[in-house]
Each structure stands twice: as structure tokens, then as C-alpha cells.
């Protein structure tokens, strides 16, 4: 037997699940609470705070005394060079539950941006939160679709003989080889100029599913084809198990690990792909925030060095991928679990 990891065998698995679900919960909370955290809408533009850096809340003031949380307001020093200074003379207290915001300042001219602002002076936290629903929703819907189609196509191909197998797999090759951008361009031309958010949402989900399934299909087919030749499958068949039963009972469970890792690969990939699609006109229109579009912005110019807080959506995507990884991935069968 594999030496059991320290502690009981069940605990790490459950801990992983709990960790994953906690992350999921946090992301959901971010998405739901988003508009109320700082009270800024994702589209609100603060023209005097373009590329404002994140400002941390303080509880110890200049004299070293403990006070209620406050921030030092930002003062624009040089617009062209995007330089801000903290006004240490006038600490602005943070208020809870005022004007429909969880936390805000009293001064409308001194808003608080915990994660800084983007190129149009929009609250990065509000946008990050606002983008959760759209970006994660699209990516999860797309990944689910891709995995369903992929698992179905892959298992059919793996179980059936050559003609079906060939047909399915060559169709998969075709989908992979066809540049998706062209499909989207043509699709966009056939659609009305102004699209509603839900139209965009479902179109992108469909496109992503259509583009992503062959990857899953190839892996599932390989696993199914390999497993069905194994002793236990042969035995099951010998005692008269139907193909469907064989597939559902024995072969598909074997692909679970692969499908889980595909999900963790597809989710971040799809969040980013959504930004590429918006480049050819199929994206959530302004001012709807999406993580992919925000990251594309971060790739512009030298934001990477001068406004690194614009990369915050990348961390959110990591969190999402990690959440998926932990909550749907099977428990690791490590040979040796070293002390952590």
C-alpha cells in the first residue's frame, strides 16, 4: 500500500475541498457585494484620479496614536507623469455603511480606491468585483460546455470503432485548426450592432465551448481507449455489462482527473480569451468590466511597471483557477507527503 499521509487519509482531501469552496465563496461574495464595497459603480470615472495608486487604510497617525481607520488623501503632483503624493496633513477618516457603501470617505472629492484606478480613473476594486460575474460566468459556462461536448465526443470515439472514431477526431482536428478569430469576425458581422449583455454572454459561452471541446475530447478518448482494453473492463464486458454501463460505471470515472485538470486549464484560458474576442467586436461593451479586458489594458504601455495594480485581475483569475482546482480535482495520491 501507499504509505498513508500523515494524519488520517481523509483529512487532506476534505481540507482541499474546504479550501476550494472557501475560495469559491470569497469570489462569489466579491461578485455579489462588489457594487457596495466602496460605493463606486464600475463605470464611474474620476477624471482627477487617473492611474491613482492603491491607498492603504491606516490606523496609526503621524503622531503615532491609534485612531479609527483613515486614509491619507491623494494629491496629483504631475498629471503627465502620473505622480501622486499623499497628503499627510489631512487624514480622511473612513466611514462604515454610509451612502450605500460598506466603507467610504466623507469627502466626495477624496474617494477611497483600495486597489487604485485605471486609465480613466475608475475604481479598480469596483471593476474587479463587477467583472467577477461576467468573466467567471462566461469562463465557467464555456468550460462546462466544452467538457460536456468533449467528454461525450471523446468517449464515443474511444469506445466505437474506426469509422466513428476517425470522424469524431478529424472533426476535432478541424475545429482546432480553424482560427477562432475568423469565426467570431464572421459571426459578429451577422449580429446586430448593439448587443445586450446577455446576448454577448451566451454567444461568447457558445463560442468558447465550440472552440474548447476538442482538447477535452482528445484526452478523454485516449483514456477511454486505454482503459477499455484493461482487465477489469474486459471482465465487466465478459459478464455482460452494456457499453453504456461500462462507460458510465468504469471508463468515465477514470477520466475524472483529466477533466478536472482540463477545467483548471480552460477557466483561466477562457477568461483571457474573452478579451481577445472583444478585440474583434464581440465583447461586453463599455463600461461593463471584464477581467480579460482589464488585463489587456494592463498590457498597454508601461502599466506593468508604473501601474502594477492593474494586474489585480490576474490574481483573481489565479484564485478562480485555484478554487476550481481544489474543489473539483481528485485527491492527490502522493507517494510521500513531506511535512509542510
Amino acid at each position: 500500500m501507499i504509505p498513508a499521509p500523515r494524519g488520517t487519509a481523509l483529512v487532506p482531501g476534505r481540507r482541499r475541498r474546504i479550501g476550494g469552496l472557501t475560495l469559491c465563496g470569497l469570489l462569489t461574495a466579491l461578485g455579489v457585494l462588489g457594487p457596495w464595497i466602496t460605493g463606486h459603480r464600475p463605470g464611474d470615472q474620476f477624471g482627477e484620479f487617473v492611474y491613482a495608486p492603491p491607498s492603504a487604510p491606516h490606523i496609526i497617525d503621524a503622531d503615532g496614536r491609534l485612531r479609527a481607520p483613515f486614509i491619507y488623501p491623494l494629491v496629483l503632483e504631475d498629471r503627465l507623469e502620473r505622480r501622486y503624493a499623499q497628503d499627510r496633513q489631512h487624514p480622511t477618516p473612513l466611514r462604515w455603511f454610509r451612502r450605500g457603501a460598506l466603507v467610504s470617505t466623507d469627502e466626495p472629492s477624496q474617494p477611497w480606491f483600495p486597489l487604485g484606478t485605471d486609465a480613466l480613473g475608475r475604481d479598480q476594486l469596483a471593476r474587479l468585483a463587477g467583472g467577477t460575474r461576467l468573466s467567471l460566468g462566461v469562463a465557467l459556462a464555456g468550460a462546462l460546455g466544452a467538457l460536456l461536448i468533449g467528454a461525450l465526443a471523446g468517449s464515443v470515439a474511444g469506445l466505437a470503432g474506426r469509422p466513428v472514431d476517425d470522424a469524431v477526431m478529424r472533426a476535432a482536428d478541424f475545429v482546432i485548426a480553424l482560427p477562432a478569430v475568423y469565426v467570431v469576425l464572421a459571426l459578429r458581422a451577422a449580429m446586430p450592432l448593439v448587443l445586450s449583455t446577455s446576448q454577448v454572454f451566451w454567444t461568447i459561452s457558445l463560442v468558447l465551448s465550440a472552440v474548447g471541446w476538442p482538447f477535452a475530447a482528445r484526452g478523454v478518448r485516449a483514456v477511454v481507449a486505454s482503459e477499455k482494453a484493461r482487465e477489469y473492463a474486459e471482465a465487466a464486458r465478459a459478464i455482460g455489462a452494456t457499453r453504456t454501463r461500462l462507460l458510465l460505471r468504469h471508463l468515465l470515472p477514470a477520466t475524472r482527473g483529466f477533466l478536472a485538470v482540463q477545467t483548471t486549464l480552460l477557466v483561466p484560458h477562457f477568461v483571457l480569451a474573452e478579451a481577445t474576442l472583444s478585440f474583434v467586436g464581440l465583447g461586453f461593451g463599455e463600461p461593463s468590466p471584464s477581467w480579460g479586458a482589464m488585463l489587456r489594458e494592463a498590457g498597454q504601455g508601461r502599466a506593468l511597471v508604473e501601474a502594477p495594480w492593474l494586474l489585480a485581475p490576474a490574481l483573481a483569475i489565479v484564485a478562480a483557477a485555484l478554487a476550481v482546482h481544489l474543489s473539483v480535482g481528485p485527491q492527490p495520491h502522493a507517494l510521500r507527503a513531506d511535512r509542510l
Binding site: 500500500m1 469576425l185 458581422a189 485516449a222 482494453a229 482527473g257 483561466p268 490576474a314
Partner: protein
Amino acid sequence: MRRGLLRYFVRRTAFAALLVLVVSSAAMLLADLAPGDAFSGFDLDPAVAAAERHRLGFDRPFVAQYGSWLGRAMRFDLGESVKYRRPVVELVAERSSKTALLGATALILATVVGIPAGIFTGSRRTLLTRATSAASLVILSVPSLVTSFGLLLLASRTGWLPVGGFSGGADGSFWLTTGRYLVLPAIALALPIAATLERLQSQALNDALADPSVRAAVARGCSERRIVWRHAFRLSLTTVLAIYGVIVGTVLSGSFAVEIVTSWPGLGALMFEALVARDLFLVAGCAAVGAMLLAGGILLSDIALAVADPRLEELA
């Protein structure tokens, strides 16, 4: 077995040819359906545009244009680019070698880093393996546009490497110069592939460790190294190889952003130009090369799959 192999090869080559044809045709159709054409735009007088469209036969229905293109394509003439007024074959050939160089380097790099990393993270659970897995997730969560630009920025600040571009053969030491210019785009292209391979390999190895045959080996008291490399690795190859072929095939589309950002004069950049210019024949030509690469990659991976896992009836 040998005759079977030959038959298999012929069959797959026929499929590959069909794939190339279908993909390039479909790309052409889609580019035709996309809004605008090679002559519309704000820079050309509509009268001049109309006359050019007529002269080059782009005012005919798509079916007629496609028919004459197909006729020529059978003789390996992929038509003439509207933007460049040059044969597509010539343009594509000019760029393909650069993309092949970049793609091959990136693939080797990604494989050499990604697969061992995956074996490492799949077989153990330490702080280091968790950090490696986390690093993979981070790489996968940053667009390659940003990664490439970050690398360029690093090069620009440190002066260690040239900031993009390519000037292989400018002086005597061809490979040295080429190598210097190749480093950045190759790393930028390899990073997400390596991360993908790491994740796949890690999971596959992890699954393999749960396999009865591996457990049996553990029970026999085989050494850890032997278990991982002899038994589990072999088992894990099934899924990794299945996906590997697709990865080879998608290197071209992945190199798109990297080539543009790092000014690498490859096919990805040309493909982008063709798309922006709605240059139908060039679009079809680039798609054809992409399909060829994919067909080749998949064929290789299927053969490797069959060799690694004899239970598959692939070559029978």
C-alpha cells in the same frame, strides 16, 4: 504490423491533406463573411477600390472566386495576396522558417521544463511542489501579451538581451545572433505551454499512482524512483501525449501575440496582417500552414501514443 503501419500512414496523410484543404477553404469563407474587404477602408477612394475589386475579380460571387482558387490550389498555387500583390506561397515561405524556429525552440523548452516539473509536482507534496503548481496557475492566468511585454521590459531595463526584433545573420556569427534574439520570444511562447504541460503531467502522474499496477509495485517494495519513472510515468503518458499533439498544432496560433509584441518576423504576424487587411488568399494560405502543422503534430502524437501504450489498437 509493418503493413498496418504503412496503411495507417497513408490513411492519416490523406486525412491531413483533407484537413488542410477544408481548413483553408473555411478560413477563406469566414474571412469573406467578415465585414469589409481588402479594398474597403478610409484610405482608398471608393472609385479606385471598385475598379481594383473588379480588375482582380473580387466583385464576383464568392463561389466563383473560391472555384478558381481551388483550381489553382490543386497545382499548389495559393493565389496572390491583394495587399502585397505577390504570390501567397512566396510570402508564407518567407515567414514559415522563422515561426518554425521559434515554435520548435519554445516546444523543446516547454517540454524540458514542463514535463519534469509535472512529474515532480505529481509525485510529491512539499512546499516546493505546491509553489511550482501555483506558479503554473499564475502563468496561465496572465495573458501572453502581458508576459511578453514584461520580458521585453526586463530586457530593456537590464540591457541583457535585445528588445525584440530579429536580425539573425547580420554579422558573421549567425547562430549566436539568432540565439540572442530568440531567447525572449521563445520564453514568452514556452511559458504557458510549460505550465499547461506541468498541470497535465502532474494530474496524469497522480492518477497513475492510484493505478493497481503501481500500487502493486509499491507493495513489492520497489524504490520510489523506479515506481515513478518506470511504472507511473509510462501510464501517465496516455493523456499527456494525446494533448501534446494538439499543443504542437496550436503553437502557431499561440505565437500570434508573442510574435507581434516581440517583433518576431514570423507567420503569426503575417496572419494578423492578413486578417486585418481581409486579404482572402493570404488568410487561406496562413490557415493552410497552420493546419499542416496541426496535422503533423497530431500524427506524431498519435504514433507516440500507440508506441507508449500498446493496448491502443491504433496501428492495428
